[in-house]
């Protein structure tokens, strides 16, 4: 119950932060929408040039592109936990996080989840609403498919949290994450299916992507959303996401114990 109260605080705070500056907020809405349109147009053009190359229908493909933009906006693969952690480290304000009687990774999680939800409510939802009205993109075919999608999305969020935290912890050693973030975002961009779905990959690259956790971030939920994954195969994919969550969260727990014991506070 306490977590819900904390979360509500973070969500309210997030919404205020995002909507305080009116012009900036309006611009965000427009940006997200334009990005969705850009991906929609891109996939339409590609689809019409070679329909045979796609294992899915045109509507499914443009939906994949547009929903991928929506997910990318609020699951925080760009400025999530790792960004928060390195900012706190660099400012030295991480000390105030550490004196709170709440497990640090959990603090980061509730703060970032609150921000994500605020982002969803204030930006993604309105932009998506317009997109659904204007663009020919579809909802999940059935309610069950929609529920599986929701489940895989929750799991995707947890995988990303684990990865982001581990990357953020590197900052305790390097005190700067700029370069590491480039490499990390590159890996996600390539292997998650955020931009190009895995079914276009040459088989060696696809095999690499299948082994790693990144595909669980975008490709898994999106494939379920558009119905490319159905029935039996959903269970297996969801399970592989769950396994990664367990591995990554255990990793976060272990890494935090190591990192915490040798923390150096810069400035402060």
């Amino acid at each position: 119950m306490k977590i819900l109260r904390v979360m509500r605080g973070f969500i309210r705070q997030g919404i205020q932060v995002k909507t305080t500056y009116g012009m900036a907020y309006a611009m965000r809405l427009v940006n997200v929408f334009v990005k969705m349109v850009a991906f929609y147009v891109l996939w339409s053009v590609l689809y019409e040039s070679a329909p045979g190359a796609f294992p899915v229908s045109q509507v499914e493909m443009v939906t994949y592109g547009a929903v991928s933009v929506m997910l990318g906006e609020f699951i925080q693969w760009w400025d999530g936990p790792h960004f928060y952690i390195i900012t706190q480290i660099r400012r030295g304000t991480i000390t105030s996080d550490l004196v709170r009687p709440v497990y640090f990774p959990f603090q980061v999680f509730s703060r970032c989840l609150g921000e994500s939800l605020a982002e969803f409510i204030t930006v993604v939802f309105p932009a998506a609403l317009v997109a659904y009205l204007v663009l020919p993109i579809s909802l999940p075919a059935t309610l069950t498919q929609g529920l599986y999608f929701a489940l895989s999305l929750v799991q995707s969020y947890l995988i990303l949290f684990g990865l982001n935290c581990l990357v953020g912890f590197i900052g305790f050693y390097t005190l700067s994450l700029r370069g590491i973030q480039h490499a990390y975002h590159g890996l996600i961009m390539l292997l998650s299916g955020a931009w190009v779905p895995l079914w276009f990959f040459p088989s060696w690259l696809r095999q690499v992507a299948e082994i790693l956790p990144f595909r669980g971030l975008f490709f898994t939920p999106l494939s379920i959303y558009i119905g490319e994954l159905q029935g039996q195969s959903i269970a297996g994919t969801l399970l592989s996401q769950t396994i990664w969550i367990v591995i990554l969260l255990l990793g976060v727990g272990l890494a935090w114990r190591v990192v915490h014991s040798r923390l150096v506070v810069q400035g402060g």
Binding site: A24, S49, Y173, A183, M189
Partner: protein
């Protein structure tokens, strides 16, 4: 002249401060190469399936995208610190630049040199050279010079855009959304010939947010495809666009600076 000398000073200091973070300093260069490779691999994956996009074959697209990478790298090396204008305006620390006897803009830009972006330029130029070979192009010396001029002007368009967008912080306090949002859209778009996105989009990226002058129009000129633009003379305006957008960016900055009232602390 004095500004240049100051700039050089600032840059040296900034470089030394960045080199403090040794590990990240080196991973930085590696990370950028990786990020570019990822982009090119994904583009390659797409083009292996779709031999042409909007009537352009793989090497024409590589040329287009590499041109963008090189221009963007050039711009980013020197202006990465402009993204901090927002933060300086918010907490009033912009004051420190105003009390020193040197141009505030020069001080700002000199704060940080983004060495990692040299790799963007190198990757971009390499891409252009490879595409040049594959497309069987034969430029005269004058055309080679033209390519360099267009590249620099493409970078200037970006500098002007970034400066203008960041300076909006003087009015809106927050400018991050304007900058990153615009750059994100740009990143999606610069991989492909603009005309695939349709007429209204071409007008948008020509007149409102002139991305098209960074790589699309220069590429049309250099590949001899000017007929594909909305008007065949439009691509030739790229150098002019570079100067105009830069002046526009500086004008927005000056206007913003003139109404800056420190939050004081």
């Amino acid at each position: 002249m004095r500004n240049l000398r100051h700039y050089w000073r600032f840059v040296r200091i900034g470089f030394a401060s960045q080199a403090q973070y040794g590990v990240d300093f080196f991973i930085g260069a590696f990370g950028v190469v990786l990020l570019n490779l990822v982009d090119l691999v994904l583009l390659g994956v797409l083009l292996q399936r779709f031999t042409a996009i909007g009537g352009w074959n793989i090497w024409e697209i590589v040329f287009l995208f590499s041109f963008y990478l090189a221009a963007m790298g050039l711009q980013n090396i020197f202006t990465v610190h402009l993204g901090q204008i927002e933060a300086y305006v918010q907490d009033g620390t912009l004051d420190q630049f105003l009390v020193r006897p040197s141009s505030p803009l020069i001080q700002l830009m000199g704060r940080e040199i983004n060495h990692g972006n040299i790799t963007h330029v190198v990757t971009g130029v390499a891409g252009i050279v490879v595409a040049y070979g594959r497309l069987g192009l034969h430029w005269t010396f004058a055309e080679g010079v033209l390519a360099v001029v267009l590249l620099v002007c493409g970078a200037l368009v970006l500098v002007g855009l970034v400066l203008g967008l960041c300076s909006l912080a003087f009015w809106t306090i927050r400018s991050r959304e304007f900058l990153y949002g615009t750059l994100q859209i740009q990143e999606v778009v610069q991989h492909y010939p603009v005309h695939i996105f349709g007429r209204w989009f071409q007008v948008l990226v020509t007149g409102v947010l002139p991305f098209a002058f960074i790589n699309y129009y220069p590429t049309l000129v250099l590949l001899g495809r000017t007929g594909e633009a909305m008007h065949p003379l439009l691509p030739w305006l790229s150098p002019l666009a570079g100067v105009l957008v830069l002046l526009g960016g500086i004008a927005v900055w000056k206007l913003g600076l003139s109404r800056y009232q420190s939050t004081g602390s």
